[in-house]
């Protein structure tokens, strides 16, 4: 089934990494996938975002005009992307930095999680907030299995970070739990 998501936040919040990870998870499930990052000048000081499209059939547009889902890590990203969402979509919102009240849509499914806290608890550091968010999104959307995501960690992470896989796994699973 066709699915898409836009993930957005500050540069440094690990947006690109979870985008890639999701894509690798889809590949593990033999699905087609496109991952399209924003990049360039925006990196400095601005926001970073990426779009992931997953489908069983060949993917047409990698550009997502009206996203089905969002992972939102900071306020400017919510302001930018929420209005474009399709009705009925899912938002995973980083409650640590963004007040859920800022959301203006009531035709969507808003999952606000204190990502830093969950990360801290699950993995001993707030730095895996991105993984928590991804876990939550995957659980909520069912686009791929949570196991595929954790299994894909070794595809998406550079070998020298493989020792961090267990912590990441915990964060993902904690995110999934928080969303279910």
């Amino acid at each position: 089934m066709y699915n898409d998501v836009i993930m957005a936040g500050f540069g440094g919040q690990g947006i690109m990494l979870i985008g890639n990870l999701l894509a690798y998870a889809a590949i593990r499930e033999d699905k087609n996938v496109t991952y399209l990052p924003s990049y360039g000048v925006e990196m400095r000081g601005g926001t970073a975002n990426c779009s992931v499209v997953i489908d069983e059939r060949p993917i047409g547009s990698p550009v997502v005009g009206r996203p089905l889902s969002l992972i939102i890590m900071n306020r400017p990203s919510l302001l930018k992307f929420e209005p474009r969402m399709k009705s009925g979509g899912i938002i995973i919102l980083n409650k640590t930095l963004v007040d859920p009240e800022v959301s203006e849509r009531n035709d969507i499914d808003l999952v606000a999680i204190d990502l830093n806290e969950v990360s801290e608890k699950a993995a001993g550091s707030p730095r895996l907030a991105n993984m928590v968010a991804l876990g939550a999104y995957v659980q909520k959307s069912g686009v791929v299995a949570v196991e595929s995501v954790t299994a894909a960690l070794k595809d998406a992470l550079h070998a020298k970070y493989h020792k961090m896989i267990p912590a990441n796994k915990k964060a993902i699973e904690a995110g999934a739990a928080a969303a279910s």
């Binding site: 000048v41 990196m43 400095r44 000081g45 601005g46």
Partner: protein, 250 residues
Amino acid sequence: MKQVFKRPESMTDKLFHFCPGCHHGIVHRLVAEAIDHFAVREKTIGVASVGCSVFLYDYFAVDVIEAPHGRAAAVATGTKRVLQDHVVFTYQGDGDLAAIGTAEVIHAANRGDNITVIFVNNGIYGMTGGQMAPTTLLGQRSTTSPYGRENRRDGYPIKMTEMLAALEGPSLVSRVAVNTPGNVKKARKVIRQAFQMQLEGKGFSFVEVLSTCPTNWGMTPQAANDRIAEEMIPYFPLGTLKQKDVIDVL
């Protein structure tokens, strides 16, 4: 009690888009201070280059022309030949000035064009994400020298200041750094001098500023700052290599 340090008046309020700890911000401030010092904001024209400093016009309260990558010196020449009683400066990175813009800066210098060139040498292509610059140090890794810069393939880190000093044309050719409060003060003096040269009609003035790029050096701001003293200055020694004090006309 008097305010002894404040934002220069030639600057706007806009927040820099630079990464944390990036020296571009310091250099911007010093240039603005020089403009304030001579009270020439209203007759100063900045020529921005393409690089992390491309948004010069957002931060300086002066008229600014955005030049194509590498061509700031030629653009400044064109502007200055028309507005001879204005102050024209360029602000260029090392990719901009020492790679694609080599010919333009050398010939502006050789002509002794009465402009000021601020050359921010951070040994890397900052804006495009960390490729090797002509000034990248030997052995330094970058995204296009993944195994370290190697002189037989990539050449030596180019010393623009030394090369320009070999020309008859320029009036002031100097290299400074902004890695310590003391060096910032020296840099302030030299940058001010560069503008003074221009105001006195003495011709081409050139200040190379050794600068950090914590992001693309893959370092914390402090580590990057330290690297200036440890690695950059030994290869790119600080000091004024050339200074003319009379206006020479054929």
